[in-house]
Amino acid sequence: MSTLLPPKFGPYGGRFVPETLMPALIELEQAFVDAQKDKVFRNEFEGLLASFVGRPTPLTYAKRLSEKLGGAQIYLKREDLAHTGAHKINNALGQALLVKRMGKKRVVAETGAGQHGVASATAAALLGLECVVYMGSVDIARQEPNVFRMKLLGAEVRPVESGTKTLKDAINEAIRDWVTNVRDTHYLLGSALGPHPYPTIVREFQSVIGIEAREQMLRDAGRLPDTVIACVGGGSNAIGVFSGFVDDEQVELIGVEAGGSGIASGKHAARFGDASKARVGVIHGTRTYVLQDEDGQIAETHSVSAGLDYAAVGPEHAMMRDNERAFYTSATDVEALDAFQTLCHTEGIIPALESSHAVAEVIKRAPTMKKDQVILVNLSGRGDKDLNTVIKELGTNL
C-alpha cells in the first residue's frame, strides 16, 4: 500500500486514522496529484487567487517600525490584505476546487480563531458547496465577529462542547462528522496538520505566500531577507512562507509559538518550548510534537490567540526543528499584545493576535541586528476579529 507522495517528514506525519477514512485519504491524494498536473485546475486556482483573493498580496516596508527598533530593516508580507483577512483563504480555495473535482458536495471544517472557518465558508459559497464549521464554544465566545461572518456566508456553525471546547475538540468533531459522511463529504482541514496528504496539500496551497514574498524581496530590497519570521499554531502560514526560502540556506527561518502566560506557568501552546510537557506523540492522524501529560492524555493549552491555541504542531515543522532548518521560539500573551499595539501605532496596521506573536519576535530580534540586515515577517491575518479580546485584555489602558 504505497503512496503517491511521501507520507512522512522524517519520523513525523503519517496516517493515524480509523480504517473508514483511509480510502478517502487515498482518494484525496490521487485527486491532488492529478490536479497538480492539470493545467486547467492550476489556471482556475491561480485565476481565483488573483481575481477573488486579490493576490499577489503586497510586501510593505515597515519604515517607522524599523526606525523605532533601530536595527534590521523590516518587511511585512501582507496576508492580512487577502480576501477574508488572512492567508487561510489560499488553502480553502485550493481544497474546495479539489472537492469539486472529486465530485463531493459538502465540506466540514474546524476553526479556532474563525479565520479558517470564514475562509471555508467563503470558498463554499463561491463554489456552491454545503459547509459545516465546527468551533469550540470557548472560541465562539472570543471570536464572535467571525461566527456572524460564517453564518452570513451560508455556513452552519456547530458549537463543540466536548473536552476543552477549543480547536482540538473542533477537529475531533469535524473528523467524527467526516467519518460518518465520508462518501459525500470532504474534510477541509485548515492547517498543515492531520493525516497525510493534508500537511503536503496545505503547504502546497500556501506556498504562494513564499513564492510571492521571495520575488517581492528581490524586487523591493534587492536581496533575500536574512531572517523570515512567522507565527506557528498548526503552522500553515509559516510553512507557506518558509517554503519560498527553504532552499536558500543562508536565510534563517524562525517560527513563533504561543507562549501564553509563560512557559513556566504551564499555560501556553509552545510545543517546542516546554520539554516537560511536549513529547513526540500521535494526535489527529499525525505523529509530531504534542503537549501531553505523562499518561499520553492531550494537555490543555492556553493562548490569547485562538488560532495558536493547539496542543500539536504540523509534522513538517517537527522535522525542520530536528534538522535545524528552522528555529522555534515563543512569545507570551503580554508580548503579543504589546507587539499588536506597536504595529498599530507605527505602521497603521491592526494585525491578528496570531500574527502579533511573529511581530513580537521581530521586536526582540531586530535591535540586535545590523541596519543593513533584513527581516521578513509574515503578517498572516488582520486583527479586526480580535478587537473584543484586545479591549478585554487591555481594558482601561486602551
Binding site: R15, P18, T20, L21, P23, V179, R279, E294, G296, Q297
Partner: protein
C-alpha cells in the same frame, strides 16, 4: 489452543466493550468480571484517551469520566492482572488509541499487557500502513485489524490476508454508538469480507439490542456491543447487577444461533 481460538468454538460470540475506570476503577473491574462470568465470550477492555475521535457521545463521556477518576494505562494493566486473579478466563482484548500506548513506551506497554494477561490489541487509529512498529513488537499476540464499509476490495484482501485473531468489521460509516436499526447492506458487506478471508469476522458499531445482536449473529462470527453496554451499565444505580442482566440477555439472544 489460545484463549481467542477457544472463545470461537461456539459461534457467534458475544463481545462487549467496557472502559476501565468508569464510573470508577473498582466498579469497572467488578463490571468486567461480571460480564465475563455471565455470558461474554470475549471482552474489549477500554483504555481511555482524551481525544477519542472514532467514538460517539456515550463512549466519549464514559472515558472522560474514567480520566477524571484518575484512570491511567498503568492502572488499566494492573486491572487486567486483577481480573485474571479473580478467575476470568475469557480473552481480554485491550482497546485504545495509540498515543497513551506510545507515552507509556510501546515495547513496555506490549510486554506489560502480556504479563498482565491480555490477549490482543485493538487500536482504532493504527491502520495497517502505520502498524509496522507495533507489529514488530507484538510477538504472538494479535493486533486486530479493522475493515470498514468504505474499504475497497483490494484493500480488504490485503488487510484480511494478514489478519490475526479475528477481523473487526465496522458495520457503518460513522463513530461508535447504537443505531435504531442494522444497516441493510450488512449482509453484503460481510459476504464481501468473507470472499477475501477465512478469518473470523466480528461486527461492531451500532449494535444496541439483543434483537439486533441476533440479526448480526446470523451473519457474523462475533457481535461487538460497546456504547449500549456502557450506557446501560453506566446509567444504572447498581452497575454490577446491570452488567449481569445485560450479559445474560445478549447471551440468550445468541444462544440459539450457536453452533
Amino acid at each position: 489452543m489460545n484463549r481467542i481460538e477457544n472463545a470461537f468454538k461456539n459461534k457467534p460470540i458475544f463481545m462487549p466493550y467496557f472502559p476501565l475506570g468508569y464510573p470508577n476503577l473498582d466498579t469497572s473491574i467488578d463490571v468486567i468480571e461480571t460480564l465475563a462470568k455471565n455470558g461474554a465470550d470475549l471482552i474489549e477492555v477500554g483504555i481511555s484517551f482524551s481525544d477519542p475521535l472514532a467514538d460517539g457521545p456515550v463512549i466519549q463521556k464514559a472515558t472522560q469520566i474514567a480520566l477524571e477518576q484518575g484512570i491511567t494505562v498503568k492502572k488499566s494493566l494492573a486491572a487486567i492482572a486483577e481480573l485474571r486473579n479473580r478467575g476470568v478466563t475469557i480473552p481480554l482484548i485491550l482497546m485504545g488509541y495509540f498515543n497513551p500506548m506510545l507515552a507509556y513506551g510501546l515495547e513496555k506497554f506490549i510486554q506489560d499487557a502480556k504479563e498482565a494477561g491480555a490477549d490482543g490489541f485493538i487500536v482504532p487509529d493504527l491502520p495497517p500502513e502505520e502498524a509496522g512498529e507495533f507489529q514488530s513488537l507484538v510477538g504472538d499476540l494479535p493486533l486486530i485489524q479493522m475493515l470498514a464499509p468504505t474499504s475497497p476490495n483490494e484493500r480488504m484482501e490485503s488487510i484480511a490476508r494478514n489478519a490475526k485473531g479475528f477481523i473487526y468489521l465496522v458495520s457503518v460509516t460513522g463513530v461508535t454508538g447504537a443505531r435504531t436499526s442494522i444497516s441493510d447492506g450488512l449482509g453484503d458487506l460481510i459476504a464481501r469480507v468473507r470472499e477475501h478471508t477465512s478469518a473470523k469476522v466480528c461486527v461492531g458499531f451500532g449494535i444496541g439490542t439483543p434483537e439486533q445482536a441476533k440479526q448480526v449473529g446470523l451473519l457474523a462470527d462475533g457481535v461487538i456491543v460497546g456504547s449500549a453496554c456502557v450506557k446501560t451499565i453506566g446509567s444504572s444505580e447498581k452497575p454490577v447487577e446491570a452488567a449481569k442482566q445485560f450479559a445474560a440477555e445478549f447471551r440468550s439472544a445468541l444462544q440459539e444461533l450457536k453452533k
